[in-house]
Symmetry: C2
Subunit: 148 residues, 2 copies
């Protein structure tokens, strides 16, 4: 059932038993023999069933900071305005103060910006990710050394 065959061209030539279908990720594992492995820690802080902050929400906050608009940020991330709005709304409920605020009026209409708290959450989140990578490096390097 579990066989010891080589990755790469030999694997494709090797007789396959069940299941016959080769998945996309398996094909990729075979074809990307020399592709550089990647280590990633994804941080999520949950409160009950709600994700207060995670990778998607952080990407959204950064996109809002960059574009000054929830509509543009949603578009840049390929998500619906409604979904972006719900993510922001959940964050605004989970944190002590809103992470995002809307300035109305002005010549070109209102814009959406991160609050001080929103900026701090993003900064801390990205820093926590880097610190996690550093913290786990000894073990993740050891795992990388066990890959083909």
């Amino acid at each position: 059932m579990v066989r010891d065959y080589n990755c790469g061209s030999e694997a494709e030539a090797a007789p396959r038993t069940t299941p016959d279908r080769v998945t996309r990720s398996q094909q990729s594992a075979m074809s990307s023999k020399r592709s550089k492995p990647e280590v990633r820690f994804r941080l999520r802080i949950t409160k009950g069933d709600a994700i207060a902050i995670g990778p998607g929400k952080t990407d959204l906050l950064e996109a809002i900071a960059k574009t000054g608009s929830l509509t543009s940020a949603a578009k840049a991330l390929g998500m619906s305005y409604r979904r972006a709005w719900l993510l922001v709304d959940t964050m605004n409920q989970c944190f002590r103060e809103p992470v995002v605020t809307t300035t109305s009026g002005g010549a070109r209409g209102g814009s959406t910006v991160l609050t001080e708290l929103g900026l701090e959450v993003v900064r801390r989140y990205r820093h926590a990710e880097s610190a996690a990578l550093s913290g786990g490096k000894r073990d993740t390097d050891a795992i990388l050394g066990l890959l083909r």
Copy 2:
């Protein structure tokens, strides 16, 4: 659009604009005001599109180690045998040596066990997760302090 309203009972009484529907995660964010927040780093090591090791695969390896059977491990995790088999197969292709091996024969038939390499991957993976938590603690504590 983005409003500054309180979490908890006030939030539910507050007038809501678009969108009207309150999602499960939002209800949860409101109702679980005092539930303890959780910080989690999920580690994934990818090679091309394949995940060499991640949370699901590590859980599976641990379940195999515990049960001595791929069938039992799959059942314990609520996944199909086929899916468990594919996850093991991907790992066996990504690592230098198989993470799992099957001993055939014997009075009660064969059993599935982790190889030395499989055991090391699990140990390193769990240790990397703990080290990541420690490494990121200063920043995640700061974020926790910003939650309601």
